[in-house]
Amino acid sequence: MSKRIDVSDLNVYYGNFRAVADVNIEIGAKSVTAFIGPSGCGKSTFLRTLNRMHEVIPGATVEGQVLLDGDNLYDPGVDPVTVRSQIGMVFQRPNPFPTMSIRDNVLAGVKLNARKISRSDADDLVESSLRASNLWNEVKDRLDKPGSGLSGGQQQRLCIARTIAVKPGVILMDEPCSALDPISTLAIEDLINEMKNDYTVVIVTHNMQQAARVSDKTAFFNIAGTGKPGKLIEYDDTATIFSNPSVKATEDYVSGRFG
């Protein structure tokens, strides 16, 4: 189920402004990849090009190739909806659907697409997704209550369950823990470690320890100055990036001597 992603010569624009330039990166299947870098260097922008969420913003365009198991996402003729159902995304701020119950939130990907699903299949899907996101025990008695009544950390895990429920091959996470307390953060990090068995995970984080704890490989992005595009500076095994990076800027950043 899990898939690899190969990006070549990717340039990302907001109107005329080039936000990310010339990215080449290979993200292996069944691995966790962390994106780190200073604020504004284009991590979120780049991440959103990986499932064609970037073009949702008016005026936003992309040049270059993103191959999902060899198929270019940006070929003319590719429907972004197909892409997004194979590459899921978890956002920085938990955003459960406020009109839906916990159960319906998990089933959102199925129900919103008006796909037929039997009652028992739906129950199974809800349970397995919530178990996979470590939320089942906390909510199993109140599945029909609104999702917005959960704590922030629970909401974020609900969003992860919702993403898992559509069975994507790749899951992108944009700072999924930045609004969470240390305990919820640990719960989500454990979850990412387990998810590696079934999914390809890409996570943006500002937390070096988190990157070191959860990821197999780490990509460091940087920006030369305001108004300049962000670039991929170094991409290597996480251990190498944190102990023995080959670029000075990476070393400065991971050791906190940045800027």
């Binding site: 969420m53 008016p58 159902s85 956002f91 659907f97 009109t99 990907g109 008006a114 919702r162």
Partner: protein, 375 residues
């Protein structure tokens, strides 16, 4: 014994020492006393130039605001004084604004209630002539004839104009917010919606009348023409309110839905609109409440009828506003206008009740559909 340890240690002696952080404070009785004296002085003052309740109340209010502010300034200082001055001023304005509302409600209730008979509610004016009114006045029997036909007309015409304008208005708003950002067409729509908001209602009536005149021959008058005229008035309100409601749906929800591989139109239909539905419902209600009381556009499009007509696609129709208008302007019996006046006031009361029920209905809808919170 153990009790002793639990007793809180008394704070340092506070007896009669003023807190240095506090300023002077008016005793609780001070403001009521000022109020009473203002009342007495106001009553006295108003007798000077011929006593009337109105002048007494005005004098009292002025004296109270000045007096209470002055006392507060003297005892509590300038800042508190300014605070209470504006507090009293704003409360005064609030009461002033309530006066017309309450007076309208009171007048309509007082004059309308006697006319609220089952006769009024369930019969029309069909066959009611001046002679009938003269007879019932002469005999002292209850007024015959009623507004049933007008109620039917009001409900039908309003329902049809809602059916016409809600889809058009909502779709236009959806286009503006979800698809048309920055496009020339959407700027055009916004401009014309703004222009439409300012159209006088009689012009809308003439437009609908002329339109149907061209299509079906001159002076085509029927309920549906009135419904079209009213929808010209409703559409801009529906567009505007729906647009505002859709705009405040957070983008994150749309993105969350896209990220699950949901198509744009499904996202709009099943995520965006349900999230905004309570606001949209109250916007639609406001739009209905605005047109339900229109008179002029109805007169030039649906004419005026005395009989019950359930068909909006043929023949003239009456609504409550036109019913009121004609009962007052040309009473059924020119020599005995009281029965007509009574019917008009009862119809006015009925109209107000209908608008209120509508508002309550919208609140109910909003309550049922609004995003759920709590656990």
């Amino acid at each position: 014994m153990t009790n002793a340890t639990l007793t809180p240690v008394p704070a340092a002696p506070v007896a009669n020492r003023r807190n240095r952080l506090s300023k002077g404070r008016l005793p609780r009785w001070a403001i009521p006393v000022v109020g009473l004296s203002a009342l007495v002085l106001g009553a006295a003052g108003s007798t000077l130039g011929g006593f009337s309740i109105a002048s007494m109340l005005i004098y009292t209010a002025l004296l109270f605001v000045v007096g209470a502010t002055a006392v507060t300034v003297i005892v509590e200082g300038r800042r508190q004084g300014t605070n209470s001055f504006f507090t009293y001023l704003i409360h005064g304005c609030f009461i002033l604004a309530l006066i017309p509302l309450i007076s309208v409600l009171y007048t309509v209730l007082e004059r309308g209630l006697p006319g609220m008979t089952s006769n009024f509610l369930f019969t029309s004016m069909n066959g009611m002539t001046g002679a009938v009114d003269n007879q019932s006045v002469a005999d002292g029997t209850p007024v015959l004839g009623g507004a049933y036909h007008a109620v039917v007309g009001t409900l039908l015409i309003t329902a049809f104009s809602t059916i016409i304008s809600v889809p058009i208005g909502m779709l236009a708003a959806i286009y503006l917010v979800e698809y048309g950002q920055g496009k020339a067409l959407s700027r055009g729509i916004t401009f014309f919606v703004d222009v439409m908001t300012g159209i006088p209602s009689i012009v809308a009536g003439l437009f609908a009348g002329a339109l149907f005149g061209i299509l079906f021959g001159p002076s085509t008058r029927m309920g549906i023409v009135a419904a079209v005229a009213l929808s010209v008035l409703m559409i801009p309100t529906v567009v505007r309110s729906t647009e505002e409601m859709l705009k405040i749906v957070p983008n994150e929800l749309r993105e969350a839905s896209y990220a699950l591989g949901v198509r744009k139109w499904r996202t709009i239909a099943q995520v965006v609109i349900p999230t905004a539905i309570s606001g949209i419902a109250s916007g639609v209600t406001l739009a209905i409440a605005r047109v339900i009381g229109e008179t002029a556009p109805i007169l030039v499009t649906a004419g005026l009828a005395n009989n019950i007509n359930f068909n909006v696609f043929s023949n003239w129709m009456a609504t409550l506003p036109t019913f009121i208008y004609y009962q007052i302007l040309s009473p059924t019996s020119p020599t005995n206008i009281d029965p007509s006046a009574q019917r008009a006031w009862a119809a006015a009361l009925l109209l107000i009740i209908m608008v209120m029920v509508l508002n309550l209905g919208a609140r109910l809808i909003a309550r049922v559909f609004s995003p759920k919170t709590g656990r």
